[in-house]
Amino acid sequence: MEFPGIVIYWIIVALMMAGLYIVIAQNNLVKKIVGLNVFQVSVFLLYITMGKVSGGTAPILTDGTQLYSNPLPHVLILTAIVVGVATTSLGLALIVRINEAYGTIEDDEILEQESDS
């Protein structure tokens, strides 16, 4: 395959790695959730991209079009978005509780308190 190949895949991989890096490197629990969201969204883009059929239109029945993009990946990603929202809200709810219990949302300070107790 010639370089650079399909450009959108490069964008997706860059987003994916950026998201994963934020999850690993950030100390703040909320920022970790943000990173997780970036990571998940890159996967949504991956799915939506692969549904595109070159030359195809949106998958809506109209006169005069023969070629449609594949709607199935879009539907799958609707489900995945719902899962993503549920995960994010649960994660944020846990952060609120963690903040109540520890008085901080910085990972290193939490670890310090846990090693003391």
Partner: protein, 494 residues
């Protein structure tokens, strides 16, 4: 006609019961509902197993839409068997849950606890019955999200951070899994597992499918806590409410192993992926590291729930080692261990639930004199502990024997049999530490008065202990089913 609908009822009944719990709110009423539902689920699972044994694989098309366009539920022998394991644990845990949960969870949040238990069971059962790779992801997330909530309900604040860390790891794992499914869809245009098994071999030499396999393996390895992706597990098990730990330890990782088997042996079965790619050696190496590291770290734990969690990591190592052997004997040993470990680890965590109920601590030093104070509970610990070690006449022996035999079948693999024995000897050490403190030390305050846990907790515990002895003496039923399931899986690449 109802028989034909059983595969979907298996999922729908607990799924619908969960929101009803939210409406009922009354702690005892929700408990009664959850218990009833868990028993109905067990009855359905046993009926399904009988149907599968009598007439082979069951295929159920959701809404009458034929696969690969519709979602189908597909229950083969392995699936039916995992259903029975999960529902049986659910049915034993629910009666036990009442007192234990009342003690450890706020009374006004109990209804959420039962709703989440039911949702978690729904997710686990869904993973087992579904024949669709994307549907599997949805059920995986249903079970995971409810698990995060369950873990955070513990009275210890460390439960919150354990739940948060598991949420991060679990979401990364599940997302890796959908990346893998997406890449397979890209090459084959199908999400149906049986259909994928047919289509993947044609394109198996492409980089896309190789990347898909890598993502699927890593994603599921996080979910099943394979060394070195296990960091979420010990704290999650140690600080979750005791009942939750019993249920998760006995079912959640088992179902993740099942999903892994589905991907590796069903989807990639026809190209015999374990043989062609180095994944075989990688899995075996990681499994052995898990066996040794898990057992070794378990020896140094003061919190006994945490100790048992590390022991679980070692046991997962045994299962994955069996699977990575990629022979009928190896796979069936791994699957038998899946069943056996569910019983013994369930029983052991139930013991800890009783201990926490009575003395409010899972620390080793607080357990002094418990052999006299809670004789029934500690006797159960000894029996289940013997099974964990692998003493003859217990289930632990059956599966370890099968595993060692399978290892010896492979040329040049005999040193691994030695490592299995070493890991078992380490289990002797960590089980003995507890026995020694409980039976041969007197507590600082000299209190040796008998103070047994309530019968509603002791009885379910002894059901599991009894089962682990019964199947240890008569291991043939489980071995036969696992053997048949392993041969059916291997059928893909012959």
């Amino acid at each position: 006609m109802i028989e034909a609908q059983l595969p979907v009822l298996q999922i729908l009944i607990p799924l619908l019961a969960a929101p009803i719990c939210i409406f009922l709110r009354h702690p005892v009423a929700t408990w009664a509902l959850a218990t009833g539902v868990s028993w109905v689920c067990l009855a359905i699972a046993i009926t399904l197993l009988q149907q599968v044994l009598a007439s082979g694989e069951i295929i159920y098309e959701i809404g009458g839409w034929a696969a690969p366009w519709g979602i189908e539920y597909r229950i083969d022998l392995l699936g039916a068997w995992v259903l029975v394991i999960v529902t049986a644990i659910g049915a034993v845990v629910m009666p036990y849950a009442k007192l234990s949960a009342e003690k450890e969870i706020d009374r006004d949040r109990l209804y959420i606890f039962y709703a989440m238990m039911l949702l978690c069971e729904t997710g686990l059962l869904g993973i087992t019955v579904t024949g669709d790779a994307f549907n599997l992801f949805v059920f995986l997330e249903i079970s995971s999200l409810s698990t995060y909530v369950l873990i955070s309900m513990g009275s210890d604040r460390r439960g919150l951070t354990a739940a948060y860390r598991y949420l991060i790891m679990g979401t990364i794992g599940a997302t890796f899994y959908i990346i893998g499914v997406g890449l397979m869809y890209m090459m084959t245009g199908s999400l149906n597992i049986a259909d994928l098994a047919r289509l993947v071999p044609e394109v198996s030499q492409t980089r896309t499918i190789e990347a898909a396999l890598a993502f699927l393996t890593v994603g599921l390895a996080i979910k099943l806590a394979l060394f070195p992706l296990h960091f979420w597990l010990p704290n999650a098990y140690a600080f979750a409410p005791s009942v939750v730990t019993v249920f998760l330890a006995a079912t959640a990782t088992k179902v993740a192993v099942y999903a892994f088997v589905r991907i590796i042996f069903t989807v990639f079965g026809a190209i015999n992926i374990l043989h062609d790619v180095a994944i075989h050696d990688v899995l075996a190496t990681l499994a052995i590291c898990a066996m040794l590291a898990g057992s070794a770290v378990a020896i140094y734990q003061d919190n006994i729930k945490r100790m048992l969690a590390y022991s679980s990591l070692a046991q997962i190592g045994y299962m994955i080692l069996g699977l990575s052997l990629n022979s009928d004997a190896g796979v069936s040993a791994g699957l038998v261990h899946l069943f056996n470990h569910a019983m013994m680890k369930g029983a052991l965590f139930m013991v800890m639930g009783c201990v926490v109920y009575k003395i409010g601590s899972a620390k080793l030093q607080d357990m002094a004199g418990l052999g006299k104070r809670m004789p029934l509970t500690m006797a159960a610990f000894v029996l289940a502990g013997l099974s964990l070690i692998g003493v003859p006449l217990t289930v632990g022996f059956v599966s370890k024997w099968a595993l060692i035999q399978a290892v010896l079948e492979k040329d040049g693999w005999w040193p691994i049999a030695g490592l299995i024995v070493i890991s078992s000897l380490m289990a002797v050490i960590y089980v003995w530490r507890v026995v020694e403190v409980a039976y041969f030390q007197t507590p600082a305050n000299g209190n040796l008065e008998k103070d047994e846990a309530p019968m509603s907790m002791v009885l379910p515990m002894y059901v599991l202990v009894g089962a682990s002895i019964y199947f240890g003496i008569d291991g043939t039923t489980a071995l036969e089913i696992a053997g048949d399931a392993a041969r059916a899986l291997a059928g893909g690449h012959e």
